[in-house]
């Protein structure tokens, strides 16, 4: 597929990196030659220096023959106009990043006017993700499948866990709870476990199953938190605004700490129900005076990764129930989790997942069956949800008789709203939805797993 990405920033380069690994021809347009040189050396892409608003540059990038144009420069208006030009010049699909909360109300109209196929709003996506972490505090990592019925989450095996030293077949707890161990992260490598897999201390296990079952399972292991009533948000950027709006709707008290007084006034105008406090989010005494130690969730959304991480560590040590940090640089995410931040949110990674799903569905246009896609552990593994809409020849055959590729795991079958953790005797039927976990990143079609 021919894909043109306008804007080689955080989101742009992440997208290019993921998409270029899947046989796509990628062209990146940006004004900054230094950034482009770096990207050109690191990835299999062509870089063009210039503006996406310049028709000549767009011609040079061969927009006419392109399948997908993604505009992710730092200005919404430029993105919209780039996409409009691209569409007029013959691009088949366009995606624009539009993130200003001011535009969020007329987004539908904008999409129609500009003939946009998709809009990305990394800040909203991140806010949405964080709000789920707050609303379901038991989980440190949430990915939902099958209309929010199936949950994929991560769980750390700590010192006193009874799982240590046992093999997967020895443990009946998972079976009893009707959940499945989908993958294990050990020393930053991700493994799809076999029956003889033995758990060690500090492994992260990915478990998948019905939301309720996982909740029960974690409750037995004393991992359950009660509902959170209040959150403290550090930093008053776009994510904070979206997040505060969602949380306030869910009757959770929101306290936002922002250093810039003018911004505080602006926040107060658009979020009249939230408590806005002017102050430094990394100042220990100040945070304590604002009851950091008794807050439900402490969410650090400042501009600097370091400040966010440090703020979360301070909060965790002084007793905050749950800490969430926004981290932009995705390399080394695991390291941060090890030192005690409960959840990490990377807007660009979330956005890349969204666009990747869209792009992959375009690729299998005759059979667009991917419903959800989630990249795990720094893009080394993926979870995919497919709908079974055609009479494939692998239907109605017990799984144990099917030859499934190595490193592919059929994790869940959803049939008539019932969640089945498949065993060898189960089989896939028409109109099922299935969720697979795999380290084969090229899989985009259901038939490719066999």
């Amino acid at each position: 597929m021919k894909i043109i990405i306008i804007g080689d920033g955080k989101v742009g380069s992440t997208l290019a990196s993921v998409l270029s690994k899947e046989d796509n021809d990628i062209t990146i347009i940006d004004k900054n030659a230094n950034v482009l040189n770096q990207t050109n050396d690191d990835l299999d892409v062509i870089c063009i220096e210039g503006s996406g608003l310049n028709i000549k540059t767009l011609h040079e990038a061969k927009v006419k023959e392109s399948d997908l144009v993604i505009a992710v420069t730092n200005q919404d208006e430029i993105n919209m106009i780039c996409c409009l030009y691209a569409k007029r010049m013959g691009a088949k699909y366009t995606i624009a990043r539009i993130r200003d909360p001011e535009h969020s109300e007329e987004i539908k109209a904008l999409m129609e006017e500009l003939e946009l196929n998709q809009i990305i709003n990394p800040e909203y996506t991140a806010a949405d993700h964080i709000s789920r972490l707050v609303l379901w505090p038991t989980f440190s990592d949430i990915e939902l499948f099958a209309d929010n019925k199936v949950l994929l989450t991560k769980y750390k095996i700590d010192d006193c866990s009874s799982l240590i030293g046992k093999s997967l077949t020895d443990i009946t707890e998972f079976d009893r709870a009707n959940i499945l161990v989908a993958a294990i992260e050990r020393n930053y490598e991700t493994i799809i476990p076999k029956g003889d897999f033995i758990f060690k201390k500090d492994d992260y296990i990915y478990i998948i199953g019905e939301v309720h079952s996982i909740n029960m399972f974690l409750q037995q292991r004393n991992k359950r938190y009660n509902k959170l009533n209040d959150v403290m948000i550090i930093g008053g950027g776009r994510i904070s605004i979206y997040l505060a709006q969602i949380l306030l709707k869910n009757k959770i008290k929101v306290k936002i700490i922002e250093q810039n007084p003018d911004k505080c006034i602006h926040l107060n105008q658009i979020l009249p129900d939230a408590m806005i406090i002017n102050g430094d989010g990394t100042d220990y005494d100040f945070l304590l005076s604002e009851n950091m130690n008794s807050t439900g969730a402490f969410i650090a959304l400042m501009g600097h990764d370091e400040a966010n991480i440090i703020a979360c560590l301070i909060a965790k040590n002084s007793g905050a129930v749950k800490t969430i940090a926004k981290v932009t640089r995705i390399k080394g995410l695991n390291l941060i989790k090890d030192i005690g931040v409960d959840s990490i949110v990377s807007p660009k990674l979330l956005t890349a997942n969204h666009i990747l799903r869209f792009a992959r569905n375009l690729k299998v246009k005759e059979d667009p069956s991917i419903n959800e896609l989630y990249m795990m552990n720094e893009n080394k593994m993926q979870a995919l949800e497919f709908s079974v809409e055609h009479a494939y020849d692998f239907l109605d055959i017990p799984l144990k008789d099917l030859k499934i590729k190595k490193n592919v795991l059929i994790a869940v079958i959803v049939r008539n709203n019932k969640i089945i953790i498949p065993r060898g005797d189960d089989c896939i039927k028409l109109n099922d939805r299935i969720i697979i976990i795999t380290s084969l990143l090229k899989i985009i079609n259901l038939t490719e797993i066999f």
Binding site: S20, N24, D25, I26, T27, A33, N40, D41, D42, L43, D44, V45, I46, E49
Partner: protein, 482 residues
């Protein structure tokens, strides 16, 4: 340095080299000459070492720029030493240093020879000699990138170190496909030349030898008199045309094939390159016309062949230009230094670097009258960033420094200055023939072994554009805990 990755790459290089030796094996078998045994054993030995190395599993696949430099420098050294074995073991060239010199001259597409009687050698050996030109022209690591998906996206650093020119352009997003396209164009043009030469009356064997030598802009012929042996206008025209084509930037072909020819012709480098050639032909024709009794057509015939041959750094000769007047010889020496276009198979400083140099000089002059003027160097309407300009100027400076040092080292042997200086220029420019004692009809056998090693290094420095080879000699201290 990523040693495992280096060993793996060297393994692949050996395997490729062995495969390229097979045509020579077939020829020597058919002809039943004495080189057959060595062409059977050496590739077998190389495969025996190369295959296990190439199967090594490399955990850390990323190659940084320093790894690219080291890998390319080592690959070329291994390539040259292994490539010298058939000459030495078959006994065609009795001295090992001579064999290495001949092979380096082949792979770097120089075309300088130590052989006094070329026609006495077996056909398999001569075929291998021209084959080294063909492999060296486009580069063996570019081939490795095209054929094997070993290095992922970071292979760009191999390509940067191996292909000539100030910057490396990807033709298509995938590096692997870019390398494939380059080799496809290269092969297609070579085969086209074989066809043309065959029609013009050469035997198929000779056509292949000359086509491969032209393609790499090398200059090895299987005749003592080089192209002059045929004394055929048609053959000279064909070879001139193809030397010109192989001296062009290969990106131009890609643009011409995928977009349109008009856009390809707009390239500044192409225009300046062509202009230099045409002006040189006119000046030299006028200068040498008295040698051919004022016959303009004859002087144009020799002048054009020789100009293109030297400018593209091929080094074929159709006449003994050592007998030409001083002006013409100085012109040829100048062309030798300029060289062909970037991303071509030729050597020299490259036309694009000179364009950047002269545009920078013009801006420097403007700065004298308007000290606060802001002006950037631009090529084909695209601004060249300061970093690139700095590298270009540094390259030209280093080129001169290397010439001076090499001249000094070769002067230890007491030959006349023109001989020594033209030897250094022709080695670093990867051209082939020089002047006086090393003219087109002479050879380099009279130099001592020490000088031959210096000359081999000069050729490698010229082909890999200085930095990768110099990088090997930079002492590095590594901090370690004891």
């Amino acid at each position: 340095m990523n040693i495992k990755a280096l060993v793996k790459i060297l393994g692949f290089v050996l395997c490729f080299e062995a495969i390229f030796m097979l045509p020579s094996t077939a020829i020597s078998y058919v002809k039943g000459q004495y080189d057959f045994l060595s062409f059977l054993l050496i590739p077998a030995l190389m495969l025996a070492i190369g295959i296990p190395c190439s199967l090594l599993k490399v955990k850390k696949a990323k190659l940084y720029i320093k790894d690219g430099f080291t890998a390319v420098a080592f690959s070329w050294i291994v390539l040259c030493i292994a490539g010298a074995l058939p000459f030495y073991i078959s006994g065609a060239i009795p001295s090992f240093i001579d064999s290495v010199f001949e092979t380096v001259s082949g792979f770097t597409t120089t075309g300088a020879s130590i052989l006094t009687d070329i026609e006495a050698l077996p056909m398999g050996i001569l075929f291998w000699r021209s084959m080294t030109h063909w492999i060296g022209g486009m580069g063996v690591l570019v081939l490795a990138l095209a054929v094997i998906p070993l290095i992922g996206g970071s292979g760009i650093n191999l390509m940067k170190a191996e292909s000539p020119g100030p910057s490396t352009t990807k033709l298509v997003p995938s590096l692997r496909k870019t390398a494939m396209i380059l080799y496809a164009i290269y092969t297609a043009l070579t085969l086209l030349e074989v066809l043309c030469l065959r029609i013009a009356g050469m035997s198929l064997y000779d056509a292949f030898i000359h086509a491969m030598s032209t393609a790499g802009t090398g200059g090895f012929s299987d005749k003592n008199l080089s192209v002059g042996y045929y004394d055929s206008v048609a053959i000279e025209i064909i070879i001139t045309a193809f030397m010109y084509l192989f001296g062009l930037n290969f990106t131009i072909y890609f643009v011409a094939l995928t977009k349109n020819i008009l856009q390809a012709l707009k390239s500044e480098e192409l225009r300046i390159y062509t202009a230099i050639i045409i002006i040189s032909i006119i000046l030299i024709s006028i200068n040498i016309s008295h040698l051919y009794n004022g016959n303009i057509l004859t002087s144009v015939r020799y002048a054009s062949f020789q100009t293109v041959s030297i400018m593209t750094t091929s080094g074929f000769s159709s006449t003994d230009f050592n007998l030409w007047p001083s002006f013409s010889r100085s012109m040829l020496m100048l062309l030798m230094v300029i060289g062909s276009c970037a991303s071509s198979t030729g050597g020299g400083i490259k036309v694009i670097r000179l364009i950047i140099l002269f545009k920078s000089i013009r801006i420097a002059f403007k700065k004298i009258t308007h000290p606060n003027i802001v002006k950037t160097v631009s090529i084909d309407g695209h601004a060249v960033d300061n970093n690139t300009i700095f590298n270009v100027l540094l390259f030209i400076l280093l080129y001169i420094v290397v010439i001076i040092i090499a001249t000094l080292l070769l002067s230890i042997e007491n030959f006349d200055f023109t001989t020594i200086f033209s030897t250094v220029l022709t080695m670093i420019g990867n051209t082939g023939p020089g002047f006086e004692m090393v003219g087109p009809l002479s050879n380099y056998s009279f130099y001592s072994d020490f000088s031959k090693i210096i000359m081999s290094l000069c050729m490698l420095i010229g082909r890999l554009e200085i930095l990768p080879i110099l990088f090997l000699f930079i002492p590095r201290k590594r901090s370690s805990i004891k």
